[in-house]
Symmetry: C2
Subunit: 438 residues, 2 copies
């Protein structure tokens, strides 16, 4: 019996950037996909155009899908609900009451579908989420076909889905057990922060993460105020507080990490903690500028995230790359502080590392999962092309993505979503707006 | 004889934001355009759909076109040529030699067409430019239908279009005389900076500006190094140097203004100098963060600009608004430092003021020029809509603009450019790339 090597999908006649490195750029090449995996990446023309599906990539660039390593997907339904306010007012008078009042299973499901539609349209093929009713985030993500690491949330006080942290922990176990073994969804857990979770709860989350062999996610040293509050309460900064509890390790995903001392950065590096950089959220909420160049120098794995729509207000990782590349240059008065290549790596392989999926996604290499996007360069703002990485980071936006393949399956073609009913999702978003805004 | 009041163009069934103020938002309304002007803006449905052209704006937002108050249009052909380099290397080893070698009449014409195609596609209906061979910028801008204030450049040493500043000044006079009286193009002059123009040349430029009743444009206090160099050479900072020469006045358009003292800001306000904020360029070239909130507090007219494509690397004012709204919050650790409304005003009425056109453009008011854009809100990243101004500043990108009207003429409809041959322009951009990159 002969083995059929005919690709399921062949993308040809395109520029190909298999890794986030400009020198690896193939001016004209092709990518073959079979059984959800990258079967071949090569220069020139394929030996045959025989394939179940064929995409002509003329004038386009084929590259790894982007990976968003920190969002709160359902909060897309709060996009623009409250902006330009002092942080305390923003959270206490707007976001928290809105969450308490509106967040339920249907809110989470439709909010996540809206977020998935937005992300796929912007070339994001995988994301990491932390929220409540995470099983419904999972349901929506699965329906969209996107890949995801989903973390069920908990904290000390009642949440929209759990009257107590004990109930929250039970929900976490249920969630992880239910979603283990899914092809595209990986479960995890989310302890909101050191200022909303007791040492006991944080330790319990770490223990469950070890038990289930999944990562746990937290917000860490996001604001100066957080560092002050935690230092007053525990006599230690957030990072040192976690170290003292023996909680810093490579299964921790620490989001934001804006306010770190040199010693704390050394510690994060030593413990193998994974970090997510959210530059737009950090600017918009006036949290500050994270010392990402210093973390990268120390070898800390850093991914790129947009954060939720209430603090950005979109999920476009192309725009996030632009911010990440520029803000450190301006902040440090050093135009070499954050090269475009470093940022593109952060949004692909870096985020994949944060999700614990660097062996599977983040680059186009034979045997890796086929999470592939086709960017249309045939546009005035993307010509001429001297350096394709510069173009992606500084000039492109999510709307320049033409086709999206996740796990070998075409989920967007010629900017039409194939897995989701976009009109229905937009109609539901409008319905929620009516309810919430009155 | 009856006067025919039938509109030339009617846009109906749309949300309308006549001024950059959220409370002025009309949930459902219409705009009538006649003889290049706004004839009517009103809520509800128009009394009749009789008009030469009709645009159904269902699910869209009608608003003033954006105004980009500082670019170097032809440099679109250098987009991404040199990035992430120290400023001196960037300019001296890359940009300046490339300009010396390649900038000529055809380069300027095709580069400007590329820039105009990009700007129209991103909802920009007017821009201010400063470059060389400015007559060819004017030719391209006129061909595209866009509105522009175009400033012919000069400096002390030979430029691509003039062997000496004397020849440059003659070119300026010719340019202004040739283009005076155009409907959509206004001529002006551009003295590059205080570190590249002698006091005599600067004074001559100001005198010509007065003679021809046009503004003159310069780069001012863009980098810390500029302030140091000028202070060493003239014993005064750039602003104080201009004040000492009696050159600060309301016909001066000063771009960047990153490094200013409190006293210098007072002086700019007192003299009525107009300022352009270019946050992305300032971050990317590591120039710093301009004290825009402090200038606005003093009543200085501030517009928003993208700067040229070699230092951004696109001309999308929607993205520029996002940067402008976020960077000051992060820099000052104050989430109220730069509200979305202030930024939207900067990109419309503020820039119009800088161009000296605030009576004609920048808002949808009866009798003003009909520079109008239709933004398609029916997209996952733009729903739900709680605050339309937030949505425009934080969530939208140029690609969300569906239709563009300039001077009453539809120049883009359903994202198809009507005045320009986009394929030809892209082909020319690729040709230039081949020549330049070899």
């Amino acid at each position: 019996m002969e083995i059929d090597s005919t690709p399921d999908l062949l993308i040809h006649s395109a520029g190909v950037l298999p890794l986030p490195k400009a020198p690896r750029f193939i001016g004209r090449g092709w990518v073959a996909i079979k059984e959800g995996q990258i079967q071949e990446v090569a220069a020139g023309d394929p030996p045959s155009l025989a394939a179940r599906s064929v995409i002509n990539g003329q004038g386009c660039l084929v590259m790894p899908g982007l990976v968003n390593s920190h969002i709160h997907a359902p909060m897309s339904l709060f996009r623009g609900l409250a902006d330009d306010l002092p942080l305390k007012t923003w959270f206490e008078d707007h976001i928290f009451p809105a969450e308490a009042k509106w967040v339920g299973e249907e809110f989470v499901y439709w909010g996540t579908l809206l977020a998935c539609a937005e992300m796929i349209r912007a070339g994001t093929t995988a994301f990491a989420d932390g929220y409540f009713f995470e099983g419904h985030v999972a349901r929506a993500a699965r329906d969209s076909g996107i890949r995801a690491l989903l973390a069920q949330g908990t904290l000390d006080f009642p949440t929209p889905d759990s009257p107590s942290s004990a109930a929250g922990l039970r929900r976490i176990c249920d969630f992880i057990e239910t979603w283990s073994g899914s092809a595209t969804i990986r479960p995890a857990l989310f302890a909101h922060s050191v200022y909303t979770c007791s040492p006991q709860l944080l330790t319990r989350c770490r223990d469950l993460a070890l038990k289930y062999k999944v990562p746990w996610v937290t917000h860490l040293s996001e604001t100066r105020e957080e560092v002050e509050v935690v230092s007053q309460k525990y006599g230690r900064t957030p990072v040192n507080h976690l170290e003292n509890l023996n909680l810093l390790s490579s299964n921790l995903i620490a989001c934001h990490c804006v306010w770190l001392t040199e010693a704390e950065m050394d510690l994060l590096a030593k413990r193998g903690v994974r970090v997510v950089h959210n530059p737009e959220s950090n600017l918009k909420l006036a949290s500050g500028v994270a010392p990402i160049p210093d973390l990268l120098k120390r070898g800390v794995p850093v991914g790129l995230g947009t954060d939720g729509c209430a603090s950005n207000n979109n999920l476009d990782l192309f725009q996030e790359m632009d911010f990440a590349a520029k803000v450190h240059k301006g902040h440090r008065l050093d135009p070499t502080a954050m090269p475009a290549e470093t940022v593109l790596e952060m949004a692909t392989l870096g985020s994949a590392r944060v999700l614990g999926m660097e062996a599977e996604i983040g680059s186009l290499e034979v045997g890796k999962k086929a999470d592939v996007i086709v960017v249309d360069l045939n546009r005035p703002h993307l010509q001429p092309v001297y350096n394709v990485v510069s173009q992606l980071v500084y000039s492109a936006v999510g709307a320049d993505v033409r086709d999206v393949v996740i796990d070998g399956r075409i989920v967007m073609q010629n900017r039409r979503l194939l897995t989701l009913d976009e009109e229905r999702i937009l109609a539901e978003a409008r319905k929620w707006r009516k309810k919430i805004a009155g």
